[in-house]
Subunit: 326 residues, 2 copies
DNA sequence: GGTGAGCGTGAGAGCGCTCTCCCAATCCTG
DNA sequence: CAGGATTGGGAGAGCGCTCTCACGCTCACC
């Protein structure tokens, strides 16, 4: 089982290596008969182009990186599979590899050098720490990068996000339509755009809502709900800024003797798997994660093929998924 | 920002390209002073080796693939992040890339050609369909491959698994120690090794257990539990072969007026996130997923560096995580 | 019939790296 | 101190591919 090269294919087809290469790469200007000869030679020899050799001359790796937060932070995030799936859908038909990198010591630097030494053509950054300097560095270096979610500080970087504000408004209107009188919200961390926007969007609809802070984790959801029913026992509708927090909060409600949704209506955000494992199943705001991931991939590929193309932001509209909790 | 090559480094350091290469690759036989000169040259020029060029001559891609089932099947699988994390931990320090491939039309063939054309050095196969011919083909071609989980048919292939039988026995003993008299189990699909072994291991300890079949999904957990309480209303202890099924089953128990764990003790399997989002939190059998993934990566790397090394199986011992459900 | 445009093809120069020689310098041993 | 053994470094040949360039051919037009 020896490797078969383009040279070999050319020999078998009776053409030059250049012509064989043209056929492999689908160049148009090749005579039909020669094209067929080459194609026959390819299948008869079982030829597969050596990517390293190609990559060496084209200076393209045909691989992109997906930079993820590490397991701990990912833990709560049910989206990984959806993100991977969305990116894959766009990227695979083009033969581009998806390289996964979990944040750990030195990962981001690693990704930078992979990018610079041509091992990666671009990266998608997920859940970036607002203080992280990497996105800025990448942009400054003119390297293709796409962010999942709006950056905290405005910067000329391409990102894909869901309309968080609109999503929170959807939740607010649902609660109002349920005739809730005493409405509260458990927020996400206020140092993240998602946390901020979900609160702002909600308050825009329900200005007098009771606000209790959380940080998107289950734990914080439990704690926040305990505080909420203590400070505001007559609450009858609550928007919880992530399903995971809602998942922690609902048992607290139950233990306090309140029924969901009869006594207290609950609306979550994310439509993650936590929405289905809650009891009752969560009414929640859905983000089209897979589509968003696909769009990130598309944006990244565009940047790769058209360097220095302008930064854009693509914002998807969320939708309300009505289940049993509110 | 032009690319700096080894040639350039050699020039700056005043040595030959060969020597510079030796330093980059950590060859021992280089004079200290020259080594330092080269290292200075590397950092002053900001040199990064071009992986494609290296790969072309070494015939190593320094990348491995992780072949996953598609999103639908993955959906229930809470392990993805843990698997990725475990593999990453082993692989990154070596500068090896982790390429994610979700099964879709043509993925497996794609992976095969990536392997053959030297774009991937090896693959880890997760949740392979028992009928899938790919593992066999890979083995036949002498390509490095590691399976997550024992293959259904015995074959000379390296795999890493948890001792499913022992795990089920752990659950059984827990239920017995709780003085349960009427013990049942909800199984996984019986055409998978995991499904088979968990049932067998359980029956070995509780031969007279009531057996109801499921397929690892939440839905099936609900349905199975409904059947169970109908056919066996006095059940007071049940081993459910996956946390996800347990997560679907517990609300059924609640709705039937049974309290968990007071009326019915429940033990799950996996220690996935579904165990924590259940109410009450699940007592379950834990598999050390991250460690197992790391071991898979190690085994794969060994096969890559030592081709034709014998197939081995590594089996991890599970442990019981006692929480509130049983 | 001469000229020029247009097109398909082949020759060949690299892309940046590793690695095998081979030579020179140093070391040990008798 | 001669001889061989050992060691470090350099020259250079590729790895397999793409892509530019120039060549030869056909065709149209004046």
């Amino acid at each position: 089982m020896k490797r078969v090269t383009l040279e070999e294919v050319a020999r078998v087809a009776g053409v030059s290596r250049a012509t064989a290469s043209r056929v492999v790469n689908g160049a148009s200007s090749v005579d039909e008969s020669l094209r067929h000869a080459v194609q026959r030679a390819i299948s008869s020899t079982g030829y597969l182009p050596n990517i390293a050799a190609r990559s060496l001359v084209t200076r393209r790796a045909d691989a992109i990186g997906l930079l993820l937060p590490d397991e701990r932070r990912m833990d709560g995030d049910p989206h990984l599979a959806s993100v991977v799936s969305g990116v894959t859908r766009v990227v695979r038909p083009l033969g581009v590899h998806l390289v996964l990198m979990m944040t750990g010591p030195g990962t981001r630097e690693q990704a930078m050098s992979d990018l610079r030494c041509g091992r990666l053509d671009g990266v998608i950054l997920v859940h970036t720490d607002p203080a992280d300097p990497v996105p800025g560095q990448l942009i400054a270096a003119g390297l293709p990068v796409v962010l999942a979610g709006r950056p905290l500080e405005p910067m000329p970087i391409t990102y894909v996000d869901v309309n968080q504000t609109a999503g929170a408004a959807l939740a607010a209107r649902r609660l109002k339509s349920l005739q809730c009188n005493r409405i509260a919200t458990i927020t996400g961390p206020q140092d993240t755009p998602a946390g901020q926007d979900r609160l702002a969007g909600f308050l825009a609809e329900v200005p007098d809502a009771v606000v209790v802070h959380g940080d998107f984790t289950r734990q914080s959801g439990m704690a926040a709900m305990e505080r909420l029913i203590r400070c505001c026992p007559d609450v009858d509708g609550v928007f919880i800024a992530s399903d995971l927090m809602a998942n922690g909060a609902i048992p607290v409600l139950h233990r306090s003797g309140r029924k969901v949704p009869d006594d207290v209506a609950v609306v979550g955000f994310d439509d993650s798997s936590a929405a289905l494992t809650s009891e009752p199943e969560l009414t929640t705001v859905r983000q089209p994660i897979t589509d968003m991931a696909a769009e990130m991939a598309r944006q990244l590929l565009r940047q790769i093929t058209e360097p220095r193309s302008p930064a854009v932001s693509v914002v998807f509209e969320p939708s309300l998924v009505v289940r049993d909790s509110g």
